[in-house]
């Protein structure tokens, strides 16, 4: 548990913002897929902490980024934080993605909506390790496609929108790249129907695939057992055994 300081609160549009946080001391090591439990202060309707994925980490600048979509009172309150404000986080929580040994592996990172958040950190992490990445990002419309410039620093970026306003028209799983290339591993985060469609594609084509799940969380660190998902090993906590799961383990 740590009090971080808001370095910048960047509004992307009326729905999304990036909180750039920093600390007096050096930030702890974090891994892609991990998340933070953010305490929301001064919101009478927000009782529990809010789980938010680690979007990007810059150890040199001592920065931790959170990409947040405003959906209710808690995220609304976070959107009003100003430079210099303090935010209390429990982090880093959860597991990480499995990285293949072969540095030449053809990797595809698929993000939908605010589910792109952990994909940026994963991409930068893979890039640092010497892997090349392909990002396939989907949104309802162009304004739902976020951080495209940041993604393009770490690999090739492909996009889809449901209305065709950016990239190919349709869902991520309809993108032509899926027919043109063979992938060694697919990592995905986004709305459940999207992740299920990606998992179905991976299964059909026999590709290694990990998904990052969401669930209702009260604690985020394995104490309450409120966040389970059904797996081949029974009910497992998304907060400690996940959020990243191999699709072969999930019963969804």
């Amino acid at each position: 548990m740590l009090d971080l300081v808001v370095k910048e609160n960047k509004s992307l549009n009326n729905q999304y913002f990036i909180l750039i946080l920093t600390a007096v001391d050096k930030l702890p090591e974090m891994l892609p897929g991990q998340f933070a439990e953010v305490r929301v202060d001064d919101s009478p309707t927000t009782f529990l902490r809010r789980p938010i994925s680690i979007n990007f980490v810059d150890y040199e600048k001592n920065e931790l980024w959170l990409l947040v979509q405003i959906v209710g009172d808690g995220t609304q309150k976070l959107s009003q934080l100003k430079t210099g404000d303090s935010v209390n986080l429990i982090f880093p929580l959860g597991n990480t993605f499995t990285i293949p040994e072969n540095k030449k592996a053809n990797l595809l990172l698929i993000g939908g909506g605010v589910g792109i958040a952990p994909m940026l950190f994963l991409g930068s992490y893979l890039n640092d390790l010497g892997y090349s990445c392909n990002f396939l990002l989907g949104g309802r419309t162009a304004s739902n496609l976020l951080q495209l410039d940041d993604f393009s620093r770490f690999g090739n970026v492909y996009t889809t929108t449901e209305d065709g306003s950016h990239g190919e028209k349709g869902f991520v799983t309809q993108h032509s790249i899926l027919n043109k290339q063979n992938f060694d591993a697919i990592y995905t985060c986004g709305p459940t129907p999207m992740m299920k469609a990606v998992a179905a594609y991976a299964q059909k084509n026999n590709v290694f695939c990990e998904v990052s799940l969401e669930n209702t969380m009260a604690c985020g660190f394995g104490a309450c057992l409120c966040c389970v998902t059904d797996t081949t090993d029974g009910h497992l906590c998304v907060c400690t055994e996940g959020p990243v799961f191999n699709i072969t383990k999930l019963k969804w």
Binding site: P44, A218, A223, D230
Partner: protein, 303 residues
Amino acid sequence: MVDLKVNLGTIQLKNPVMTASGTFGYGTEYADFMDVSRIGGIVVKGTTLRDRQGNAYPRMAETPSGMLNAVGLQNKGVDYFVNHIYPEIKDVNTSIFVNVSGSTIEDYIETAAKINELDKIPGIELNISCPNVKEGGMAFGTSCPSAAQVVKAVRKVYSKELMVKLSPNVTSISEIAKAVEAEGADSVSLINTLLGMAIDADKRKPILSTVTGGLSGPAVKPVALCMVWQVAKSVKIPVVGMGGIMNARDAIEFLLAGASAVQIGTANFIDPTVSVKVLEGIETYLLQHNFSSVNEIIGALEI
């Protein structure tokens, strides 16, 4: 120096701050955040005779100043506890209680008898109040005869501190408390969660997989405080109070109402170090008000 030791029936706790079952795991989940041996007592997760997968998800809904849970006693069973968890936690320097649950009286007896063999477990908290399992659980705790029956049966096989956890989902909690006291309970703890419900109006569906769940957090505090006060007046055995405690002031209110110790539940999720803060706050309060022992404020409410 103030004396923080309190008596709970057959045992003494080093201080009155405990953590509540189902919210503190086995204590190990909190070791990264604090020195758990500072706490007066830890009540570990609800333990049943056999492995339980618990309820389907969603299991949690946030509510105004609280939360509903429908975990449904997910645990690996008492044998797993004895063989794998007990060795890991037995040397933590605090009083560890096992919360025992069951679907039948035989389940309770067999589970309690197995825990009775464990040297470093000074007591059990008999859970006759879980609202989240269909069979058993709360069914035992909502009528005087059935509550008395299960306590009587467990008392025969369990020789250490027998704390009985009471349900608030009853007409008169004092009557239940008196019934379990008569069968040999050493102490009572209350309250377990209040039966509650949350609905998603857009989907026209319940939010929890089980439709109803157990309400906890500050939303239940006034109810819990009142019940602790009523029970403390009706029984001679010690009362352990809980329900919505978020800080030291809340805990002190429970002590004043007659609780010999308190348990902290949901608050651990928001601040995993809250129990230590509550302990320090109680100490400060006692010093400020010139008390030399916490026992001086137990039941000291002036009416």
